[in-house]
């Protein structure tokens, strides 16, 4: 297994505030990692650093052996796709038009989309099952549908690394399961996934490893069964012991072992 994403002693400060402090980890090609941690701990920042949208204040981030900040803009966008939490579109763009934007990194300055771009868009829409929505207006979709369209856009970029920021946020349980299935199928496609996620109970099902970002700006990386332990989570999330139903009633660790 080769390393795809590597963080080496990465720090990031926003003004006076240290958000990440000496974070190191690496993700192997084809793995599917969940990034967890309390609100405001810097999960989105970590994703944006991985996508090369932010520059770390110190340390080194590489994707496929090359420094992220050393990649040319378009090359970076062809390798890494970030699916943000929120997207607002001011005009009535159709779903297909939205997904087509994923090909922007491949278009030449004066050239239009080619057959190859079309194929990539169709494939991305088929994988995420949004083809039937192709002509719907994006702004009129439900939360779950939007989420799938956003992922389709990311897939149209044909990235090696897919970064998802809270993909299950605001989804009902049915749509959460759909999304997990989608993540599993993407994993089978060999796409490396790093997803910031709050729904801990969903992790054992779909993810092969867990990155826990703690308020002390430390990062713990391990298998789900090693990280998803009530004692570790209660401390990291500053949650009173034996109070949260997910930690009390669901034996996450046990579930993780079975999977």
């Amino acid at each position: 297994m080769t390393t795809l994403l590597q963080f080496e002693n990465v720090s990031f400060a926003f003004g006076q505030q240290n958000i990440l402090d000496g974070v190191s980890f690496h993700l192997e090609e084809g793995c599917c990692a969940a990034l967890i941690g309390p609100n405001g701990v810097g999960k989105t920042t970590l994703l944006r650093l991985s996508a090369g949208l932010l520059r770390c204040s110190s340390g080194y981030i590489s994707v496929g052996g090359q420094a992220v900040t050393g990649l040319r803009r378009l090359e970076r966008a062809q390798r890494i796709a970030l699916v943000p939490q929120q997207v607002e579109v001011p005009f009535d763009f159709r779903v297909q038009q939205i997904v087509e934007q994923g090909r922007a990194p491949y278009l030449r300055l004066f050239g239009g989309p080619t057959r190859k771009d079309q194929v990539a868009v169709e494939r991305a829409m088929a994988l995420t099952d949004v083809a039937p929505l192709a002509h719907r207006v994006f702004n009129e979709l439900s939360g779950g549908e939007r989420q799938r369209v956003k992922i389709a856009l990311g897939l149209a970029q044909e990235p090696q690394l897919l970064l998802l920021d809270e993909p299950t946020q605001n989804l009902d349980i049915g749509r959460q399961v759909e999304l997990l299935d989608l993540v599993a199928s993407l994993r089978r496609e060999g796409i490396t996934i790093l997803a910031a996620i709050h729904d801990l109970q969903l992790i054992p099902e779909a993810f092969s490893s867990v990155l826990l970002l703690t308020p002390e700006q430390r990062l713990i990386h391990g298998r789900p069964q090693d990280i998803l332990r009530p004692e570790i989570l209660e401390k990291a999330f500053n949650c009173p012991p034996r109070r949260h139903p997910v930690l009390v009633h669901q034996n996450l660790t046990l579930k993780a072992k079975i999977v």
Partner: protein
Amino acid sequence: MEVEVAEPRIFTPVVSSRHTANLGAILCILTVALLAAMLFSMTVGAVHVSLRTILEAAMAQHSVPASDATILLQVRLPRIIAAAIIGAALSIAGLLFQGLFRNPMADPYVIGSSGGAALGASVGLFLLPQFSMLGFSTISLSAFAGSVVTIALVYWLARTGGRTQVVTLLLAGFGVSTMLSYSTYFMELLNQNYGLGMSVLVSWFHGTIDVPRWTQLAVAGGMVCAAGSICLPLARRLNTLALGEEYAQQLGIHLEYTRIAIIVTGSLLVAGAVSLGGLISFVGLVVPHLVRLVMGPDNVRLLPVTAIAGALFLVLTDTAARTLLAPTEVPVGVLSAFIGGPFFLYLLRRTKREYKL
């Protein structure tokens, strides 16, 4: 016990015909309409020249009385072409600015870019009336500069956290425009005091298409063509930009370069338009909006249709301006405000409900 199973919802594509409108067909129809409107406009005015005479003049000039030929070629034709250029330029500029601000209310007049161009032009006229560079007169050059500075300023003022709220955009545009128009008025006073006799500025306020000299037309037309030719790659980027800054950046778009390119291109268009016709309001708002209703929001498809529709709109408006109260001429800016103003207010009303930006 039987459980009633809901019928699976059969997917019906919601592609309404208005969003798959055939680009080629619409371009053809609009081009024909534009040519027809221009021909019609040639016939009307203080002296009625029949369509037949005009067509004959086009074939062989000698069969037309010299006075008619002068009216047609030196008076009406340049003005009609000017109207077409201005209409196209303002409409494309409106399209660009709406994409840049990610806000359907942006318009060269509303956001003060036209005002900036007018102030720039009047400053140029006051300071260096004789100067010209590469064939571009002071007016066009300083109008361009004025427009660039204004849009950059309004953009900077109106943005909060990567977005422009309708309210902040309109307020910033209003504030800047007001300052600009009174500065322009002040320049006008100075001009009078120093006896430079630049009465051009008054008519600029109301947006009047004077009968331009052919050289003027060539300069403005050149500016508009230059800008129009770099609009296609910009239109693609506007589509990506519609997803928001973070997305655009993620997709490999250089935000700063793209913004600068849009501001410069839009300013070229506005400066070209303002140097021909002064401040004409709302064209850049009404036309892209109507075209978007038919063509959908894809800027690549919108661009050519908007340009021709804009030309058609202003040729018709200017023809009406020349004839409605003949022999008195209504400034075309007045008419476009009469048409565009209510439309703008209607959009504002709708915006409150629909665009939560």
